[in-house]
């Protein structure tokens, strides 16, 4: 089992309000409903291309983005819907983008793998494994050079740890003590290949010892533990203490992409079911009940609110204009 980070009595999450806690739950449901909608749109033929869903990993974006300021930078992957939504990008424009409409975040030129919103510090989701990590480290480099106190976070998977560029930028982040958080969602698989089959060192957080900064391992399915670890890393980064790698143990309970059933071949149905029971939504719902913040009916209400937000976004997106072919070459240059 993942071990908790050094916590002690006053964890940053202790000071979260009831509304904050409900907000986390809501954010996780928004992501889940959003992705269910993406799948529906895909099946209906309204959404082109492959879909990399993040079912079971909702705690990462909800917990991590709550620890960031609006002006902090973030990059994510093709599996990054949760991060750009939780960072504050307009959900309607995101959905419009994902179905290729002119009123989408990138006027339909980017799609779900390339969502940008510099206003909210979103410097791009990415289709290349580890490809966007240098961008985040570069944002931290800019903060360091300019002497401002914004930080950057890059969310990526365990598979990205085996790309060369990752290690180049980790080395530079350690060298200059750049204000960056490497948030590694260790969901145990890269596509259909397991962590064990990918590296001799399966304890991802230990690998950054080589670059002179701290790596911590957390329960990535507990949004409060995520919030605590990211808050600590962000505070350290803002104070000039340099980078941290957070290895967040989690599990994708769906397939790698929409055509992968998710079990059979590379994982057993039992393994997937076991993790489904540990899903952040189930676990955090129980926490809210235990803390007497929500009753079952309140949880249901939050879920319904999330569904309504997504339904409204879907309506907006489907009504959005198709990009005009006249503008095909717009934006090749600034």
């Amino acid at each position: 089992m993942p071990q908790a980070p050094p916590s002690g009595s006053n964890r940053p999450s202790d000071s979260l309000s009831k509304d904050d806690l409900k907000g986390i739950y809501r954010q996780m449901w928004i992501l889940r409903k959003f992705e269910e909608t993406l799948l529906d749109l895909s099946k209906a033929g309204d959404l082109r291309g492959s879909l990399h869903l993040t079912e079971g990993q909702e705690a990462g974006p909800a917990g991590a983005c709550l620890a960031l300021r609006k002006d902090d930078a973030i990059t994510m992957t093709y599996r990054g819907h949760g991060y750009y939504l939780a960072k504050g990008v307009n959900i309607k424009e995101v959905l419009a983008e994902i179905i290729g409409r002119e009123n989408g975040t990138s006027r339909g030129r980017g799609g779900k793998m390339h969502v940008f919103d510099p206003e909210h510090g979103v410097l791009g989701a990415n289709g290349i494994v580890a490809g966007g990590v240098p961008t985040a480290v570069g944002a931290a480099f800019a903060s360091w050079l300019k002497g401002d106190d914004s930080v950057a976070l890059s969310a990526f998977g365990d598979g990205a740890m085996n790309q060369g560029v990752m290690h180049e930028v980790m080395n530079m982040a350690g060298l200059w003590k750049l204000p960056v958080v490497f948030y590694c969602e260790n969901n145990l698989y890269a596509e259909m290949t397991s962590l064990e089959a990918s590296s001799g060192v399966t304890e991802v957080h230990k690998r950054v010892a080589a670059y002179g900064f701290e790596g911590v391992k957390i329960d990535g399915n507990d949004p409060l533990e995520v919030f605590d670890a990211v808050t600590a890393a962000v505070e350290k980064a803002r104070a000039g203490g340099g980078p941290t790698l957070i290895e967040a143990m989690t599990y994708r309970t769906c397939g790698h992409y929409q055509l992968d059933p998710g079990f059979g071949g590379y994982r057993t149905r039992e393994e997937v079911e076991e993790w489904k029971a540990k899903s952040p939504l189930i676990r955090f719902g129980a926490v809210l009940k235990e803390k007497k913040i929500c009753k079952d009916k309140d949880l249901k209400k939050i879920e319904e609110e999330a569904a309504a937000i997504v339904a409204e976004a879907k309506e907006f997106a489907l009504a959005g204009p198709i990009p005009s072919v006249d503008g095909l070459a717009d934006g090749v240059f600034a």
């Binding site: 990138s106 940008f116 919103d117 961008t135 480290v137 570069g138 944002a139 180049e168 530079m172």
Partner: protein, 324 residues
């Protein structure tokens, strides 16, 4: 105006931009303390300090990508690649990330990053330190690709590149650093996307860029002695291409050739020939010919390297073939 070397003109451009805009920063290998492999940036660290002139580890992909992040967060980075050949180490960051970021954002972001590098042979540097790879970077959309042949153009085009809000690949040439010429003092801007007629002529147009412009000019001189009037057009910016200037010259001389020291296949010459015949077929009195660096890796031995790369004699002979 003052006379200076190409090398000093490049330095002058970087210095002007570092002075003009506090968001301009430069980073790369051995550029700050050592002053760059070609000594072009020597002295800039003293004037601007180590948060504007930064020595990096040998991590071309990593610091190229960091340049993108820095550019998206308001800086105007000049990223130094010691040798053009090393761009190949950073291809994902240059072509999948840098070149596509503006487009993938739907034109929402600016990416004011300039890659500054140097290529070219004739130095016995062999296959991995002599390449001119401009065609690879013109091929993939999204990068402005800029060359220069004179000190004045180097300064003006580099200042314009750094001020541009799109990513620019600014390519210098080993053979040019010692070339001298008159350079305007103070700010000097040569707009990107404009070719320059370096010598007027009426019988044949020699299109070229970077160092080979000098070979073309020398050849034009020899051709004049033989009674052939050659026009030499320095393309300067390879992307976007100034096709108007190309068209005007072809419509005047009706014969065209392209000279570059990079590989022949899928090169700038191949592209220019295709575009000219597509758009100006009726203007042509002869096929479009090329003098290039062939399709062989740059060899080490001087005799072999000289045989591979373009020279004045080959340019003269090719022009004569066109006008005969």
């Amino acid at each position: 105006m003052s006379e200076m070397t190409y090398s000093d003109a490049v330095k002058d451009a970087i210095r002007m931009e570092l002075r003009r805009d506090p968001d301009v920063v430069m980073f790369g290998e051995d550029i700050a303390h050592h002053g760059g492999m070609m000594q072009v940036t020597k002295g800039l660290l003293d004037e601007f300090g180590d948060k504007r002139m930064i020595d990096t580890p040998i991590s071309e992909s990593g610091f190229m990508g960091m340049g993108i992040g820095a550019a998206l967060r308001g800086l105007r980075p000049v990223v130094d690649l010691m040798f053009f050949d090393f761009a190949l180490v950073a291809m994902d960051q240059i072509q999948n990330q840098l070149a596509k970021t503006i487009y993938m954002s739907g034109g929402k972001v600016k990416v004011p990053l300039t890659i500054r590098t140097q290529g070219g042979g004739w130095k016995g540097a062999a296959a991995q330190h002599s390449q001119m790879l401009e065609a690879l970077f013109v091929h993939v959309p999204g990068l402005k690709v800029v060359t220069s042949s004179t000190p004045a153009d180097a300064k003006g085009l580099l200042q314009a590149s750094i001020q541009d809000d799109s990513p620019v690949l600014f390519i210098e040439h080993k053979q040019l650093y010692g070339v001298k010429g008159e350079v305007p003092e103070g700010d000097h801007i040569v707009p990107l996307g404009k070719a320059d007629v370096k010598r007027e002529g009426s019988d044949v147009t020699i299109f070229s860029y970077s160092y080979c412009v000098h070979l073309a000019l020398e050849a034009a001189e020899k051709l004049a002695d033989q009674g052939v009037s050659a026009e030499v057009v320095d393309l300067r910016t390879l992307n976007p291409l100034d096709f108007d200037t190309v068209a005007a010259s072809v419509s005047k001389t009706h014969r065209a050739m392209v000279v570059h020291d990079s590989y022949a296949r899928c090169g700038i010459g191949a592209d220019l020939a295709a575009q000219i015949q597509e758009k100006l077929f009726d203007e042509l009195d002869a096929p479009i010919l090329r003098v290039t660096g062939g399709d062989v890796s740059v060899p080490f031995a001087g005799e072999l390297e000289n045989a591979l790369l373009p020279n004045v004699e080959r340019i003269v002979a090719t022009a004569n073939e066109l006008v005969s």
